[in-house]
Amino acid sequence: MAKKIINRVLVSIPVLIGVIFIIYVMLNIIPGNPIEVMMAEHARQDVIDRISAYYGLDKPVWEQFLIYMKNLLHGDLGVSYKLNRSVNSLIADAFPYTLKLAIAAAIVSWLIGIPAGILSAIHENTIVDRLFMGFSLLGVSMPVFWAALIFQYIFAYRLAWVPVSGADTWQSYILPAIVLGWSSAGTIARLTRSNLLEVLEEDYIRTAWAKGLSQAGVILHHAFKNALLPVITMMAIQVASLLSGAVITETVFAIPGIGRLAVDAITNRDMPLLQGTVIFTTILIIAGNLIADILYSVIDPRIREK
């Protein structure tokens, strides 16, 4: 088991390096000197040159990449052009906001998605099925910014139950968590439903009935654990992607998280910051996949042994 995990971690490393390389290339083929763009036409050429040299931009691109990789090995993501602060500390400041939002949103999506999936499967092709699936799919289909605005209007502006935006109190997270969670609940509901329906056809479910288990016992104890396997993979990846920042939600609700940081980086052509957030995100996604794999083998003894 431990060996398997170590193996998986080692396999992730070349993936990570490859992804970083691609990101670096893609972000650096955009023509033009970012310093020049940032300073606009007012700046004198010698100032631009000096700042460019300060950030190492006068060197050839391949050399810049090597320097970047060397710093990265030491965990240093560089310095933001715009804010003149280390990217590490910017991400460290933004991450707690994103983390809180991601956890809350994930919980909302499980609370909606998993029961909806189970109930839909039990009442397959009935009105209950359609209602629950409809409700969870509605979340996927609504554009996030639109749902966010409607929610803000009703619950913050009209009813004044929660703050409109910001991240000062825990109440501020309620609306964004619901909007974001609901939007990923549909996928979880659909996956839970289809897996459960499949598992309910299995021979060991017939055995469970024959033992004298109740419906709840059959479904929650014997079917659910098997049906959950693929759902868990999805949930781990979902959490990872939520952690990489929900760009639209964070923007609409003015939450200073990773998503917002990335948007700001793009608007300002702040390459080190953009690279930093993208690489941070990549690491999270790879870690999410890794955790999914590990959870998978914790639950399924057949995989554990392979």
Partner: protein
């Protein structure tokens, strides 16, 4: 009824409401399992053996439905029980094992957990007691190193061991009736013999009545006290086993008997009854077997023969006996 019979099915009819119409998987079946006896149901694939068993368990799934009849278990009609009462009976008083030992156990729990669960549902016992009984039953069904094996997952065991686990799970509450639906079909011949011997041993030790479903006449001969031959949802012939093998009277049963593989005969191909099982949606108006019966007359196509007693306890659903029929054929020749 007398307590001498563990199970008495009367005029059971189980239908499937399919899109193309209703189909009677079990059609007016009456069957008795006397206490402590092994009763076989035999017949080709699709003749309604499993559905008869699932009806007794009341585990027929939609679009299937038990339409009419009585299922008397120790004198009480199971069809009058509430779902809650049925749940208490399943796995405790009546238990069932299935054909596919490979897939009938849940892959994500240890076999020990699954066996103990069967007991825990029905009896309130301490953890230690549950464990002790599980070890005990594993030993009873001949699983070596019971302590160790309890911790195994199903995929770590061979087919034969898994079927032993299934039997142990079914027997742990000491049921009055064990329904075994083709318990050895998926196993090779040596393992089959061991499993059958085990079932017989458990019957002898506990007095459990067994309803044994099979399509193998050889298994019937080895195991059963009584046998019911089913075809297209109906009982075609029923008799005490010695009587049946000595005195086969239904042309269908005669065909089944010819298809037993025999060790002393080298054959290229097993004999099979010519023709195909009729579609249950479009059964002939008369005898279900008429389309494949080489003795069929006009009458057989129009009129359904009743089950009639041709010797004490020996019933056939045919207008003539095999004796008459084969005699007639010889005189024609």
């Amino acid at each position: 009824m007398s307590e001498a019979n563990t199970l008495e099915i009367r005029h059971l009819r189980t239908v499937f409401h399919t899109r193309k119409g209703d189909l009677a998987a079990v059609n007016d079946v009456s069957l008795t399992v006397p206490k402590g006896k092994i009763v076989g149901i035999v017949g080709e694939s699709g003749c309604g053996k499993s559905m008869t068993a699932m009806s007794v368990m009341q585990l027929v799934r939609k679009p299937g439905e038990i339409e009419s009849g009585q299922i008397l278990f120790r004198g009480e009609d199971l069809l009058q029980k509430t779902p809650g009462e049925m749940q208490k009976i399943r796995g405790d008083r009546i238990s069932m094992i299935f054909q596919e030992p490979m897939t009938s156990l849940n892959p994500v729990y240890t076999v020990g957990h699954q066996v103990e669960e069967a007991l825990r549902i029905h009896e309130h016992l301490s953890k230690e007691e549950l464990h002790r009984r599980a070890v005990e039953i594993f030993e009873a069904v001949g699983i070596p190193e019971a302590e160790e094996r309890l911790k195994s997952y199903p995929h770590q065991l061979s087919g034969g061991l898994r079927q032993r686990v299934m039997i142990g799970m079914a027997m742990i509450c000491k049921p009055d009736l064990l329904i075994a639906d083709e318990p050895t079909t998926a196993l090779d011949v040596t393992i089959e013999a061991q499993i059958l011997a085990l079932m017989k041993k458990l019957r002898d030790e506990n007095g459990t009545s067994i309803l044994l479903i099979t399509h193998n006449m050889g298994v019937v001969a080895k195991m059963c006290d009584f046998v019911y031959v089913m075809y297209a949802g109906r009982v075609m012939e029923q008799a005490e086993v010695f009587e049946l093998f000595r005195n086969v009277q239904h042309p269908y049963t005669a065909g089944l008997l010819q298809s037993i593989p025999r060790i002393d005969h080298v054959v290229d191909r097993l004999y099979t009854i010519p023709g195909v099982v009729p579609n249950l949606l479009h059964l002939p108006a008369g005898c279900g077997f008429c389309t494949r019966c080489r003795y069929a007359q006009d009458r057989c196509y129009e009129e359904l023969p009743e089950l009639r007693e041709i010797a004490p306890g020996h019933f056939i659903r045919c207008f003539s006996t095999n004796q008459e029929l084969s005699g007639k054929e010889e005189s024609h020749a």
